[in-house]
């Protein structure tokens, strides 16, 4: 362990718990040695990438050692003519895509704060952004992985080919496991060629036209790669107040994007949407980056975000139901609705931090079993363990627990992340 230099543990605090030590191994072997030692010593470990998505799930029930993947940031293989790349998981999403951009390629990971977000953290969080309906989820681009299991075993799955059914697709298990089963050390991706051009179209979305505009966008002939109805979220180009914003992005050839723009104008014009602003080139990509950041943005200690997934056709109703429930409990609600993917993100907040806890606890209690399924993230650390972070249902809880137990029998990795205080009565923490 002497090999892995110590970092300031205070920078890795979660849920009021400060780890005893924070380590940053520099190789996969070193990582394996550190994990093995922690596991043997019975020390609970939380793996840290950029920390941008640590706000998913409950805070760890025990927490002794933070392992940062920051030094595991190398590109291991990049055969750009194969459209595949293999990187260490501590590399930031931004640096991954910068390497790819040199060869005119990208992977649509859609990370909020990509400069901080690590590849491993993004995958482990199960994140999927606004382009998943068009391109697929991050997990769909993972063609292979290497992980360190709790006992220090290094295990790989998949490979460096784009089509592979050799053995179980273990990478799927690691993606979305929130660091509770293994540490993602290496990830292999298939990449995509960058589009010739990117254009963002922004339009005002008055309340009365919202439903119609959403239906028109869903039926556009040239599909946008991003189609978001924003309400609030001024940092992403939305507006506070009654009027929403429509955020669309088109990617493809110049000819196609030009036609898409014409079609769009007439389609949403017909839906009663007044005017459209177009952004091209870097203006478009930075507008998109701001939108992604908004997904993960919190307002200090006075906000949290509900994420509700489901059928695109019902997204508006789900979104409104959550927003209205929040308003009933004197919370301010802003929403970000993925028209094609069907995700609704509702950020609820109060003006004053002091009012937040009570209001949100009332809201949380009111969201009974009949409410749509949602998960919570980015809750203030001190509140999160008392809320229904995983909503009302988790599929196959017994199997989930069993998986945790098989891979991490001593509950070394982020114990309690999937089943916190709220679920304690169920018995063993997963």
């Amino acid at each position: 362990m002497a090999l892995a230099p110590g970092l300031d543990p205070a920078a890795f605090a979660l849920g009021g718990k400060v780890p005893l030590r924070a380590l940053a191994p520099a190789s996969i072997e070193e990582l394996a040695a550190v994990v093995k030692a922690c596991n043997e010593a019975g020390e609970a470990v939380v793996v840290f990438g950029g920390g941008t998505l640590q706000g998913i799930g409950f805070s760890p029930a025990r927490y002794n050692i933070a392992i940062s993947t920051a030094r595991l940031d190398k590109v291991l293989e990049y055969e750009f003519r194969d459209l595949t790349i293999s990187v260490e998981c501590g590399r930031s999403v931004e640096r991954l895509n910068a390497t790819l951009a040199e060869r005119g390629q990208f992977v649509p990971l859609d990370a909020p704060s990509p400069g901080l977000s690590s590849v491993g953290g993004l995958l482990a969080s199960g994140w999927s952004g606004p382009r998943r309906a068009t391109f697929g989820r991050p997990r769909d681009f993972v063609i292979g992985s290497t992980v360190v299991l709790a006992d220090g075993t290094v295990a790989k799955a998949g490979g460096m080919v784009v089509k592979n059914v050799t053995g179980y697709d273990m990478s799927k298990l690691w993606c979305g496991s929130l660091g509770t089963l293994a540490v993602l050390a290496r990830a292999n991706f298939k990449t995509l060629p960058l589009p010739e051009t990117t254009r963002v179209a922004l339009a005002a979305l008055p309340e009365r036209t919202r439903r119609r505009a959403v239906e028109h966008v869903a039926a556009l002939d040239v599909e946008p790669s991003v189609a978001i109805a924003l309400h609030g979220f001024p940092e992403a180009g939305g507006r506070d107040g009654q009027e929403g914003r429509l955020f669309l992005m088109f990617e493809g050839s110049h000819t196609l994007v030009d036609r898409a723009t014409r079609d769009l104008r007439s389609a949403i014009g017909a839906a009663g949407v007044p005017e459209t602003t177009l952004l091209d080139g870097t203006a478009a990509t930075s507008a998109f980056a701001r939108l992604l950041d908004a997904y993960g943005a919190r307002l200090g200690e006075r906000s949290l975000t509900y994420r509700s997934c489901g059928l695109p056709g019902e997204a508006l109703s789900r979104c409104d139901a959550l927003a209205h429930a929040a308003t009933r409990h004197e919370l301010h609600a802003e929403s970000l609705l993925d028209i094609l993917g069907g995700d609704a993100y509702v950020r609820v907040s109060t003006k004053l931090t002091a009012e937040f806890a009570a209001a949100v606890e009332r809201l949380d209690a009111s969201l009974g079993t009949s409410s749509p399924t949602y998960t919570i993230f980015n809750a203030p650390e001190m509140l999160r363990d008392g809320l229904k972070m995983w909503g009302n249902e988790m599929t196959s809880p017994a199997t989930q627990r069993d998986i945790k137990h098989r891979f991490d029998p001593k509950a070394t990795f982020a114990p309690g992340r999937f089943a916190g205080r709220a679920n304690c009565s169920e018995g063993k923490r997963a």
Partner: protein
């Protein structure tokens, strides 16, 4: 009460087969023949399946889920006997939600039937294995099937949004991609019936492309055609499909279908460019240009829908049309990085020559997914041995080129002893842990995927082609 009596009681006598002549049909798949099951059941719904699995669990009988039996690695063969669950009666599209581009299907639905059902809504189902006219979505999910369009749309795993499945104790469960917790959907897809029995599948549907072009380029040999594919992909171009057939395959296909492939060429490349009409022409021009630079002797675009369909129908029917020229053949499945295609094809050729076996190639070139077909006569013992040894040599060559031993057909029974060439004992032990969660008693499709003797953590050494040899001699890979 005996197992069979309990099955009769639970499902009724018309849903349980036990006569040897009925059972013998289920001792095969498209790879091999093995032994007879104890019984074959034909459940009507998930509850029937759950009953069967519970009975099997209590009686300690293996369960082998079976779709259409077109699998090419022995996945649906009851090597340990037990109960085969056929999904022939669970063949309904349960829901088709055009607005949300989703469908829920029973596992027995034939792949192509789903696309047919979706077509009136302007939708289709992405994965299209060449067997799509007969293979089932349950089997496709079990193997994580690919197909010619995997290049653009991905394999099954990229299209399955959730599965309803029966666990080993007979309880019914549901896994959803969007649900909280671990991605059970992701691991169930491609688990070849070893983790659970799938009783319903939620899939996404895609919008039919607004424009489709299908073009055929002729090349001097298969290495030149594959070099063109490497160059096209290397230039960052991903058309919707890039398929290669060599001369041997083209002549068999043409004799059968007369679709108009050039029979004098050493190999043909089938290129599909589907998407928006705005990009079709420039897309074709760029790809044709690269093909010419790589030595294409001709380039022709199909004139209309009828010709496009004929070209596709004969490509997808390639294996079936071999009957005219091959007494038997053995189809291999391996993937290499796409820049390694020419080398891989060269190695295949060398290996086939060294074993004195004719070889045909018909494959998903854009994905680097090879399908060499080794032609032999199973009545000749020496040829059977040569096929087994050549098959293994091809896999070793692909691994040496940075590839792997199955791109879409699966590991099944056929390749389980080869798996340790790709994965270390630690890698396999991690997979075995997952198996332990879902199937601690090893009743779900035993003797598949994992090397023989592999109990969590211990994995025997590779290089056993004995069982494979027996299978081939017994009439495997018949088609």
């Amino acid at each position: 009460m005996s197992t069979i009596a309990r099955l009769y009681e639970a499902l009724g006598s018309d849903a349980v087969l036990t006569a040897p002549e009925d059972l013998s049909v289920y001792a095969y798949d498209a790879y091999s023949q093995e032994r007879l099951p104890l019984a074959v059941v034909l459940p009507r719904d998930a509850r029937d399946v759950a009953d069967v699995v519970r009975i099997a669990y209590e009686c300690g009988e293996p369960i082998v889920p079976r779709g259409a039996g077109t699998g090419l690695c022995g996945g649906a063969v009851p090597v340990e006997g037990g109960i085969v669950i056929s999904f022939a009666r669970m063949n309904r599209v349960l829901a088709l939600d055009a607005r949300n581009r989703r469908a829920r299907v029973q596992p027995g639905v034939i792949n192509l039937e789903l696309s047919k059902a979706a077509a009136p809504f302007g939708l289709f189902f992405g994965p299209d294995p060449s067997s799509q006219k007969i293979s089932t979505l349950g089997g496709n999910t079990g193997t994580n099937a690919g197909g010619p369009h995997a290049l653009s749309y991905g394999s099954m795993t990229n299209h399955v949004l959730g599965v309803e499945y029966v666990r080993t104790d007979g309880s019914l469960s549901y896994a959803a991609l969007d649900g909280a917790g671990y991605d059970l959907t992701g691991v169930l897809v491609g688990s070849e019936g070893t983790l659970g029995v799938i009783t319903a599948i939620d899939v996404r549907l895609l919008r039919l492309p607004r424009s489709t072009r299908v073009c055929v380029a002729a090349f001097g040999d298969v290495e030149a055609a594959s070099a063109a594919v490497s160059a096209i992909v290397g230039a960052g171009l991903l058309p919707t499909a890039l398929e290669i057939m060599d001369k041997l395959i083209v002549s068999a296909v043409e004799a059968h279908y007369h679709a108009g492939y050039p029979t004098d060429a050493g190999a043909v490349l089938l290129v599909e460019i589907a998407g928006y009409p705005d990009d079709a022409e420039s897309g074709e021009r760029t790809i044709a240009q690269i093909a010419r630079e790589c030595g294409a002797l001709s380039w022709r675009a199909a004139a209309g829908a009828a010709e496009r369909e004929a070209l596709w129908a004969s490509r997808k029917g390639a294996a079936g049309s071999l009957g005219r020229i091959a007494p038997n053949y053995y189809i291999q499945d391996a993937t290499v990085p796409r820049t390694r295609l020419p080398q891989a094809l060269q190695r295949v050729d060398e290996i086939a020559r060294a074993h004195k076996l004719p070889v045909g190639n018909v494959f998903h070139a854009g994905d680097g997914n090879l399908h060499p077909l080794l032609i032999f006569d199973r009545r000749e013992r020496a040829q059977v041995d040569a096929v087994a040894s050549a098959g293994k040599a091809i896999l070793e060559a692909c691994i040496a080129l940075g590839g792997t031993i199955s791109g879409e057909h699966g590991i099944g029974y056929e390749k389980r002893e080869t798996l340790p060439l790709v994965f270390s004992p630690d890698d396999l032990a991690a997979m075995a842990r997952l198996r332990d969660v879902f199937d601690p008693k090893r009743l779900f499709n035993p003797e598949k995927i994992f090397p023989s003797g592999a109990v969590c953590g211990e994995v025997r050494n590779p290089a056993q082609t004995q069982s494979q040899r027996q299978t081939l001699a017994a009439g495997g890979a018949w088609l």
